[in-house]
Amino acid sequence: MVAGQELQVQEKRELQKKDETTIPARIFMPTTDIFENEESLTVVMEMPGVDGSKIDIQIENEVLSVEGRIDFSKYEMMQPIYTEYNIGHYRRRFTLSPSRIDQSRIKAEMKDGVLTLILPKAEQAKPRRISVT
């Protein structure tokens, strides 16, 4: 991407759900960058409006699934006058390819609505939950 080029808004992609959820809110897929270097795989996801404590990250059987929840309570007293973007929770899953991940050393960091997940490469192990700083 060339810096200085005019930024376009990326419309949020709605999640195609195979089964229904109990909550009525909409769920979107966060825009993600995935790249790797020699030691680790890095996953960066944009989830504006989500606080670090509302993120749920899980790895199970080579599938990484990330869920971010929005706090709708502050919107309750507000009426929309002019809207350009959608508001909803975020969820996305990725199948981690042959790169083997060391699950005990996974690091997650949330800043300005962007989640950075660093997955160091090592032997594969059983499913685990990861906490966010």
Partner: protein, 141 residues
């Protein structure tokens, strides 16, 4: 024949009303400096006051400037995406670049002015309405 289905023109009219509302909105009329579509802005009304929420993930307070002038608010800055060298990219969806947008306010603002709060990639502008601008109820005799 019974009308068991919704009137097909219903959704068309609704779409047209929404499009017109978007174009004729007081909130983005006569944009002065500042063009472009990023970052997206939602404006809400809370009682008499207004709240504008601007979504810019990955942009911190230091990367942007907020200016208010005579009935407009301008937010400009730079969204950076940086990954370092020697990386092999599997997926690339995020965009980076400069942005510059202006909001025109169709209301008078209270002298205390606008308060801005930037958290989790969302910039919230709390716009209090001036006392003189608030609607007054009229008693009917």
């Amino acid at each position: 024949m019974l009308t068991t289905f919704a009137d097909p023109f219903d959704s068309l009219f609704r779409l047209q009303r929404e499009l017109e509302a978007r174009l004729a909105s007081d909130w983005l009329d006569g944009a002065t400096a500042g063009v472009g579509a990023f970052p997206p802005i939602n404006v809400f009304q809370q009682g008499h006051d207004f709240v504008a929420l601007i979504e810019m993930p990955g942009v911190s307070k230091d990367d942007m400037t907020l200016e208010a002038k005579e009935g407009t608010i301008r937010v400009s800055g730079k969204k950076a995406v940086d990954y370092g060298d020697k990386v092999s990219v599997h997926r690339r969806e995020r965009v980076a670049g400069n942005f510059d947008r202006t909001i025109t306010l169709p209301i008078q603002i209270a002298p205390d002015g606008i308060k801005a709060e930037c958290r989790d990639g969302i910039l919230a502008l709390l716009i209090p309405r001036a006392e003189s601008d608030k609607p007054r109820s009229i008693k009917i005799k």
